[in-house]
């Protein structure tokens, strides 16, 4: 499988990365080289093979459904580029 310019632009939109026409053209070539490389996997017989979910066999650990941490909203927002009264601030979303 390979991607065309429109697919690359659509995927860039999904990935929320702004790309120029020129960048999209360059990326199309690069992504097709990588997709061509992974095409080797078509040679492998995977009939009846379970997909890997974890390399280490262990039961999912569970914890008590309880608050174990928190109470420091000021620290949570301290690295935000813009914040106000312990809220993250973003451009207007709802009209």
């Amino acid at each position: 499988m390979s991607v065309d310019l429109n697919t690359v632009k659509r995927v860039a939109g999904l990935a929320r990365i702004k790309v120029s026409q020129e960048q999209a053209e360059t990326m199309t070539g690069e992504l097709n080289v990588i997709l061509g490389f992974v095409e080797q996997l078509d040679e492998v017989n995977i009939d009846g093979v379970e997909p890997m979910t974890s390399v280490v066999e262990q039961f999912m650990k569970k914890r008590i459904d309880d608050q174990s941490d928190g109470g420091y909203a000021d620290k949570i927002v301290s690295n935000a580029p813009v914040h106000e009264d312990n809220f993250f601030t973003v451009p207007k979303v709802v009209e």
Partner: protein
């Protein structure tokens, strides 16, 4: 004083205990070495002299009180991917500009709890995506090794290029690193240092900037096998904050050093003999086989039939996980924000400006293979191939093989700009990536040099949670091969 930077961790530990010098003197020696050498090597992106001096002072008090901990006063470099409280933590990406975490990663906390000193944060490929340390927002790291009679700069490998370069140039006693497809072992091989990727789940991933969560694992780069054993003992732990960390006792890895390897069965996988590999790599491999045989090990030819599919499967799984993990960088909660007319444009502008080309490529590949209609053809298939890769290893262990010996890399260090095609760059990890895909541990030990005098590494791959055997075998190779140091310290001004 500069002589103190020549000491291994084991030597420094013993001499500190014997009061031959103080932890403060040891730390000052390293800070001096960084001051003199970092401009040329660009290994550190932030030097934390004040923290180091304070920690060293505390270590001196502990030593004086007779309460020295396992890593008391040992100066370490920390890869920029580990969250360090109040200190530069950006995984060398522009998008994390100014990020200073309010918390400490479990691995660094474990090291500090054992008395280690932090000298600073080490350069790396952006988000650990790269094999040459050319994708860092903070510029290339330079390898302290050069070809005989040449001044040409060489790459230190990646993504833990800053860690490997700093250890090789004695700008720290050892360093933390991380390995998703070979990012500890490949730079270790290219710089004449020892690097260990532990079993998946051996170290907590809490506070490590995530790249591909099912593959990422913390580990050390040091100058000797013993130093790796000492460090891993402190780094490894089960952690409630990482459900994939495994609740298994952490052995005294150092006790494996020097134990006889007589009767151990070492597998030599025929699939690691690849077309186009230079003759010197094959010779190195044969030399390694001879050393282990001389020490009493039994050499067995084995087959890992799905080896060649590990790298293509990796280039689906890793970008897929990366595209999900890196979705968090949106200009809202931390780091860079580039304004836009609405929130979507703000996201798109921020991510366009904040991510480098290689990161964008991988996020795009990951987004594509996970997008509607392609999931089964790519991601699901890759995860099935991964099952087969792990099964290859399980079969070999079931046949009684104790460890596997391979070359670490297909060649020695190269010059920056020499490899421009992404897939050719990816092939640097062809021998290391299988261990990540199967979750098993691996170690790279320097074992020889090529015709240009550049170091080359041998890799040992072990059974899950059997890092001890890797240190035991790795020490045999190290004893036979000797240690490898650059012939001059040209970087020091």
């Amino acid at each position: 004083m500069t002589d103190l930077t020549k000491l291994t961790i084991a030597e420094a530990r013993d001499k500190l205990a014997a009061r031959e010098f103080t932890a403060s003197e040891l730390t000052e020696s390293y800070l001096g070495a960084i001051e003199a050498g970092n401009e040329a090597l660009n290994a550190y992106v932030a030097v934390t002299g004040d923290i180091a001096r304070e920690q060293a002072k505390a270590s001196d008090a502990k030593i004086a009180a007779g309460e020295a901990r396992p890593l008391e006063g040992i100066p370490l470099g920390i890869k920029d991917l580990y969250a360090t409280k109040g200190v530069h933590t950006q995984a060398c990406s522009h998008i994390l500009d100014g990020f200073k975490p309010e918390y400490e990663s479990t691995v660094t906390q474990n090291l500090f709890d054992d008395g280690a000193v932090m000298l600073g944060k080490l350069n790396m490929d952006e988000f650990a995506m790269g094999s040459s340390n050319e994708t860092s927002f903070y510029g290339n790291v330079v390898n302290p090794w050069r070809r005989n009679g040449s001044d040409t700069a060489l790459v230190p490998g990646g993504s833990s290029g800053g860690s490997a370069s700093a250890v090789a140039a004695h700008l720290c006693a050892a360093a933390t690193a991380s390995d998703t497809g070979g990012s500890i072992r490949q730079p270790a091989a290219l710089t004449g240092t020892v690097g260990t990727k532990p079993t998946y789940g051996r170290c907590s991933r809490w506070g490590m900037v995530a790249f591909a969560s099912s593959l990422d694992q913390a580990g050390p780069i040091g100058r000797t096998v013993r130093d790796n054993a000492i460090l891993l003992k402190s780094m490894a732990s089960v952690d409630a904050k990482d459900t994939t960390s495994v609740d298994a006792p952490v052995p005294d890895y150092e006790s494996f050093i020097g134990k006889s390897i007589k009767g151990m069965k070492i597998g030599i996988p025929r699939e690691y003999r690849m077309d186009g590999t230079p003759a010197v790599i094959e010779e190195l491999w044969q030399q390694g086989i001879a050393w282990l045989k001389d020490a009493g090990a039994e050499i067995v030819e084995i087959s890992l039939p799905h080896t060649k599919y590990a790298l293509p499967a990796y280039y689906i799984v890793a970008p897929a996980e990366a595209s999900s993990n890196l979705a968090r960088y949106d200009g809202v909660r931390y780091g860079l924000r580039v304004p836009g007319n609405d929130i979507v444009e703000m996201y798109e502008n921020t991510r366009a400006a904040g991510f480098g080309d290689e990161v964008k490529r991988r996020v795009m590949i990951g987004t594509y293979v996970l997008s509607a209609g392609y999931y089964d053809a790519y991601y699901l298939k890759a995860q099935k191939v991964r099952t087969l890769i792990k099964r290859d290893f399980d079969t070999v262990w079931a046949d009684g093989i104790d460890a596997i010996l391979t070359p670490t890399t297909p060649d020695a260090a190269f010059a920056p700009g020499e490899i421009t095609d992404p897939v050719t760059m990816y092939l640097n990890d062809v021998f290391t990536v299988t261990a990540n895909m199967a979750g098993v541990p691996g170690i790279s030990i320097p074992a020889g040099v090529n015709k240009d005098g550049l170091p080359l590494g041998l890799q040992l791959i072990g059974k899950p949670f059997d890092e001890g055997t890797l240190f035991q075998l790795g020490d045999v190779i190290e004893q036979a091969a000797g240690r490898f140091e650059p012939s001059t310290n040209w970087w020091s001004k």
